[in-house]
Subunit: 311 residues, 2 copies
DNA sequence: GTTAAGCCTTGCATATATGCAAGGGACTGT
DNA sequence: ACAGTCCCTTGCATATATGCAAGGCTTAAC
């Protein structure tokens, strides 16, 4: 039977100490276990490695030969472990972060500037995605999505909730017919997503707020939609954290057009083992926890990267 | 937690094949086991060794570094195992054989001349002992004793039975009073062991054959006793295989003075692992089995070293 | 679009390793 | 000669590793 390499650690320690019980203490395992593993090693090698006597365990010629081997293996293993530990703990390398367009540009991007100052050796590739993540091809390490990934092989966690409301520009509202109820909105031009190209049901808030309504200006990009609203082309449902960056945008029927959605965060389990990936994951989780008010569109929130409720 | 070196074998094979299931087949273990040990190794090293994808297991930078280490450890381990196996199988070295005086000189010694011709690299130290074996100090590798060793940590086996009878020289019987019964023997001088120096009760056959008898010529050496009998100094109980070498010795009241004893053979378990020690052990067992008639003192047996019943 | 194949992971039962405690052997001190 | 100590081995209960089988994911073939 083949030699168990891990038993060589035991052999090495007994050779060093010449006493099985002392070796056991140094290895932190039971003396009976050391005895068994040593005998098993001798069985596997079909030879005797120690002369056992009341004086202790003295190496045989075979044992001395194996000691050379075990010492070199130990040196190699120790060196590799030290290097790997050092490399892993250096917090360097690339992390590819897939995000939604709005969240990525208006929330994550400003915040990651701060992160990268703390971790200059970590490079973050921010990838706004307007479709489902292709996990099988490792196109991202971490993804922030609006739909909970169904893939149970991923590590998935709820990141935070966020709110959306219907907005219009101040200029538009001054020249258009007044809006006093949801029905009044039917008389105004709407801006929204392209029905056939919507990649998630979670984006279908216009349809749910105003059944049978129809957007006259349509785009796959929420940023494009927000620019159109700013230009006075009509009304659109926008994330509050995005709208706050444009003082010319005002909420329309704020209490009646409020929608809540959830951001999810997902990672491949083996990617999460990497220190740098884990660091980004932790940072995003912490940021979301500290900025819940901002994401929920509560009044008085600043849009800078300073956490409102610092830990 | 410390890296398990034996898991490096698994790592090595997966690195080679780039497919976990193929590595499992080559290693002869279950794919689920390979999966677990690989993940455990990555946990222990707190890093990721493979990029897993549908294409297979590609090494990471960390994995490539560890691969170097694993390869060198494998080379070392393989080389050591080969050398140890070769050394062990060469059947060379010394075997220290402790025996009783008579058995060693008159049975074993002639036979070992044959043995050494077959195994020229094995040196046998024949040590006639007139006392208990000091197993703790490794003074012998194998011992042939008349008393079963009680030490259960030894490998003990019955070697063979042998017979003893009372002998006198032909010359003595011609000039002495005739001996027609056991009671008549009380009128003759007896030769035996030194009571205070007898190291085994198994040697007290004189006392048992002739209660209250007293040896007038006493020695610790059975060879000395046999020489005294040959010189006509009296009668003694001698092993038949020894007495047959002296044609001038004749058994006295052969049927009434017959005594049977047993030879035991013992070895340290770890010594028995050695090829050369095992070889001597096997040879002695085979010899005893083939020469039972000789040892049991049956008529017509030759005293040379040729086995009577060859295999 | 559906089905089959290949690959890896995981639940559960079984096999093996380990720790604990007891026992035996050898040596030392009284 | 006897008792105590140290060391190693071994029986047994417990913890852990492994194999088997099932399930999930991805890709290819039809």
């Amino acid at each position: 039977m083949d030699m168990n390499w891990d038993d060589l650690k035991v052999f090495l320690e007994v050779a060093r100490t010449e006493k099985l019980s002392v070796a056991a203490r140094r290895l932190g395992i039971d003396a009976s276990t050391v005895s068994r593993r040593l005998h098993r090693l001798e069985d596997q090698l079909a030879t005797q490695l120690f002369d056992r006597s009341v004086e202790g365990h003295a190496l045989t010629k075979h044992g001395q030969l194996l000691l050379e081997t075990a010492r070199e293996m130990n040196t190699r293993a120790q060196s590799a472990a030290d290097i790997l530990q050092g490399k892993n703990l250096e917090n360097q390398g690339k992390v590819r972060l897939g995000v939604t367009e709005a969240f990525g540009n208006y929330v994550i991007a400003p915040e990651l500037a701060t992160f990268c100052q703390h971790y200059p050796k970590i490079t973050i590739d921010l990838m706004p995605l307007q479709r489902f993540v292709k996990w099988g091809h490792h196109e991202v390490d971490i993804a922030v999505t609006i739909e909970k990934p169904p893939n149970t092989s991923l590590v998935v966690s709820r990141l935070c909730d966020y709110q959306l409301r219907m907005y219009a520009s101040r200029e538009y509202l001054e020249r258009a017919e007044p809006i006093n109820s949801l029905d009044d909105i039917y008389n105004h031009p709407l801006i929204g997503y392209v029905d056939d190209l919507v990649f998630s049901d979670q984006l279908s808030y216009l349809e749910r707020l105003l059944p049978n309504s129809r957007a006259s200006f349509r785009s796959t990009s929420v940023i494009t939609q927000s620019i159109a609203v700013c230009e006075g082309l009509g009304l659109a449902v926008l994330p509050c954290f995005l709208a706050r960056r444009h003082p010319e945008l005002v909420p329309v029927l704020a209490d009646q057009t409020k929608v809540t959605r959830t951001f999810w965060i997902a990672v491949h389990p083996e990617q999460k083992k990497l220190a740098r990936v884990n660091k980004v994951w932790q940072h995003l989780k912490t940021y979301a926890a500290d900025n819940e008010a901002l994401l929920m569109g509560q009044d008085g929130q600043t849009m800078d990267s300073t956490p409102v409720n610092p830990h």
